[in-house]
């Protein structure tokens, strides 16, 4: 086994006192994300899921173009990096050729809901047996905070400096509600990772999404409403507060579609 387990250097951190350990599937590398950003937490939840389900040998992830383009540096699973927006097409290719594998995409809102809308909708509509992890931070983080299809009305970004105007820029796109209408999706949910309680709920949802692909009944789609404190130009604490007050009313948390028993 080549995984390095977490190295403890404090005398307090002895196994008896252990309440939390980093999954060995998160590589020992400093994350490239801004402090307070949700990406790192979401990575960890996926890796914990893979570890707990013991499916490493059968799991393939797809990294997008966006802030999480380097997800493969941090995640210990096999990963392919996709062209901007095309993660669901890659996942389709792999999943069709390896029908018993766990294939997941990890995508931002620009990636999944703008340039990759067609690939997303069609993968969902074909009912591909994949997990789609959709990180919605309402903005293009990587390219410096431009407007995304998910940007809220009135929200200021570098390409909507006076706030998003519906008459020019249209309406924020609720991709998750949209794909929930398609018969090809099996499990659709919206979660967040801004508090410990929400992290636990999100973990449950992600784990359920992976487990449900065993039924081969279609896409498991998990949206995570997340912050982009750099793009939003807020401190992490303010960003989380702003997210609760503005994002959640528009993007309400909870299950949208669950498989009937």
């Amino acid at each position: 086994m080549s995984f390095e387990t977490h190295k403890f250097n404090s005398h307090i951190a002895v196994p008896e006192n252990l309440v939390y350990a980093k999954t060995p599937l998160m590589n020992d590398k400093p994350l490239s994300y801004c402090p307070g950003c949700g990406h790192g937490t979401i990575h960890r939840l996926i890796m914990e899921t893979v570890e707990e389900l013991d499916i490493l040998e059968d799991t393939i992830g797809i990294a997008p173009v966006g802030c999480s383009v380097l997800a493969y540096e941090f995640m210990g699973t096999d990963v392919q990096q996709a062209a901007h927006g095309r993660a669901c097409a890659l996942a389709t290719g792999i999943s069709r050729l390896y029908p018993d594998k766990y294939v997941f995409t990890y995508q931002g809102d620009g990636d999944l809901a703008a340039i990759g809308t067609a690939e997303t909708i069609h993968a969902c509509n074909r009912g591909e047996n994949i997990v789609i992890i959709f990180v919605n931070n309402g903005i293009y983080g990587m390219t410096g905070g431009q407007m995304a299809p998910t940007t809220l009305p009135g929200m200021k970004t570098s390409t909507s400096p006076f706030g998003r105007e519906q008459k020019d820029a249209g309406y924020p796109l609720k991709m998750t509600e949209l794909v929930a209408h398609l018969p090809g999706t099996y499990y659709v949910t919206r979660q967040s990772v801004h508090t410990p309680v929400n992290v636990r709920k999100a973990k449950k949802a992600i784990k359920k999404a992976f487990e449900l692909t065993r039924h081969k009944k279609g896409v498991s789609f998990v949206e995570l409403v997340s912050n982009c404190n750099s793009g939003w130009k807020m401190t992490p604490v303010d960003a989380n507060k702003w997210m609760e007050e503005n994002m959640f009313p528009f993007y309400p948390l909870g299950d949208i579609k669950v498989p009937s028993k």
């Binding site: 080549s2 890659l90 290719g93």
Partner: protein, 352 residues
Amino acid sequence: MKGNEALAEAAILAGCDGYFGYPITPQSEIMEYLMAEQPMHRTGMVVLQAESEIASINMVYGGAGAGKRVMTSSSSPGISLMQEGISYLAGAELPCVIVNVVRGGPGLGTIQPAQSDYFQSVKGGGHGDYKMITLAPFSVQEMADFVALGFDLAFKYRIPVMILSDGAIGQMMEKVVLPVQRPRWTEQEIREMSPWATVGRTKDRHNNIITSLNLKSDVQEEHNRQLQAKYKTIIENEVRYEESYCEDAEVILIAYGTSARICQKAVDIARHQGIKLGLLRPISLFPFPEAALIKYAEKVKGFLSVEMSAGQMVEDIRLVVEGKTKVAHYGRMGGIVPTTDEIIENVKNLIN
């Protein structure tokens, strides 16, 4: 069999694992044949109609990155849509076969045959410094033969291989000898043969990553250098061409695909008329048969490049020949095929 159908059947026989495509004339028969044949029941091969060529090429990327023998086919406008994906495949060094049954352009152009995607195929087509091995079939037999050859080269060099055909070869009916069935690889075989593939991480290795991203300039430059070194090895080892009547020729026609078939006829007719005409047919367009051209450049009065385009391959001939002999071009466009009379007329002009 029709050229397109022979290629489709050859894909099944080559042990191809997956075909992903989107309909477009004049190559829709490829997917139609595969769908009707249901290769899932014969070999387990997957055939999927994608929502676009962008999706097709990225499904190919996913499958190729997981070590499978995968392919797509399209015609000119669809191949244009694939260029970003092809660039990613080249950057991530993934093996696959891409078939272009060329039609005339630019734009929606015509559904009639053309050879106007030569530049796009041999010069890269998408962004960045890269090459694809490009094979140009000139018969239904070669449509069939080049699928397995394409996969072999693709995996030998971890490179996308383009089969550059045209509407005439795709639609033409000829007798064909089909190869014997090759088995598809098992997952274990893929893990052993392609240890880089993302098939799922085993405990004895680190995670495999398929990417074309290098954020550091020196790493990217080194990656570019390695790609160029690979292309050089390909140039040294994988040139394919066929020549006829070149030894004593005064003028040599250079042509591939449909044009080469007409040129064969033109050579026969010219020889009867006492004109010493030869034909050099590049089979691989990248790598280009440079040595053969240089060999004859000193002996002939000139080369005539015959293409169904405004003159694309002729530029490569000129680059190779470097003024050692005259290089002329004769081409027709819009789906019009050059005639033997027109070709011989141009040969005579070149001699005088």
